[in-house]
Subunit: 192 residues, 2 copies
DNA sequence: TCCATTCCTTAACATATGTTAATGCACAGG
DNA sequence: CCTGTGCATTAACATATGTTAAGGAATGGA
């Protein structure tokens, strides 16, 4: 069963006892999204954590009608509005499926409610945050120290095939440039 | 005694029991830095967490001889190489005092060693990471959606007086622009 | 099949920012 | 008191990137 994938994902990060898993399992549900459907809309309240099984999710913020892509999630990742959940405030970010997507989800409060009984879940969340923190810092350093051309090449390595699945203006926004500029970069890369 | 300030800082974030504090206290030490001295040098191993009592610390990364300022720490903050500590790898970042500074420090391993005995420390670290995560996300959104002029104005509000204590090229680097460009921005702001 | 929509590309132009260099101020050390 | 150093400012120029606009390929629906 697919639910087992959550166990594997969790247990790889930090060990989960059998009893803890048995108590957690009932929280799990499946969900799916069509192309361009939203997992989370900016300004709304959120309650769930997600594991992406199939598809692509983009996260972006919006200012004055302009969208700024922040990340892409591919299968195996947790496209979860962490900040909104832990601050218990409406999400500042939107999460949108760029292709038809399959996910598993569980209630954040339900998960958190297990902390007293099963400390391994608190350790798990701590470890996840630590890993995300490290990943984010490396990503930030990379984005600031490299130019758009290098970051585009790194993007292609980091998300194999993704380039062919989504419009290029989403990649441009992720890189912090216009689609026109990305097109120029691509043209230069081809001729060299 | 100054050590008490760590207790206050901790306890404000997440409650610390008396016994936990008694066991933690012996880990605390004072340290101080002269102007331009380093708390952490890129590429070195690190062992401590810090609380800044007095002074200013900048964090930056280095690529091809160019320095990119990432953050400034002012009193009350924890200028700690978190990523290096939790990944147990040499620091990719440098931490440098920009003015004479006073700090308290404690061993990260010693702190972590108290987790089994005093769960409140694990909860504390989790809460710190959560708060930092939220803060970082807001900061990222702000930096990406605003232009350099707005970010400069926000910098001045976020770090009152800091502008007069450190060279402007450090602020320019933090904003992702050249000192010349910052100078142009300042000139425009003055004339309007 | 045809048409409309979406999106990538290219060009021409405008603008913002980086680069190089010169000037002058302020401060610290001799 | 003088002088050197570090830093901010300004100008002139080069370059990169954004903007506007047009054209054309691919795709999906009628």
């Amino acid at each position: 069963m697919d639910y087992q994938k959550v166990f594997q994902a969790f247990n790889t990060i930090s060990p989960i006892s059998d009893q803890a898993w048995a108590d957690f399992r009932p929280l799990l549900e499946s969900c799916s999204l069509k192309r361009n459907e939203y997992l989370v809309r900016e300004g709304t309240n959120v309650n769930h954590c997600y594991l992406l099984l199939e598809g692509v999710i983009r996260v972006y913020y919006n200012k004055d009608g302009n969208e700024y892509n922040k990340t892409f999630f591919i299968p195996g990742m947790f496209p979860t509005p962490l900040t909104a959940l832990i601050s218990d405030q409406p999400s500042a970010l939107s999460f949108q499926a760029l292709v038809p997507s399959q996910l598993l989800r569980f209630s954040y409060k339900g998960f958190r409610g297990l902390f007293d009984q099963h400390r391994c879940f608190e350790s798990l969340l701590l470890t996840i945050l630590e890993q995300q923190w490290i990943k984010k810092e490396r990503h930030d350093i990379q984005m600031v120290t490299n130019d758009a051309t290098d970051n585009y090449l790194i993007f292609r390595e980091t998300y194999p095939d993704l380039e062919n699945m989504i419009p290029q203006y989403h990649i441009a926004s992720y890189l912090g440039i216009t689609p026109i500029q990305l097109s120029r970069i691509r043209a230069k890369l081809l001729q060299s």
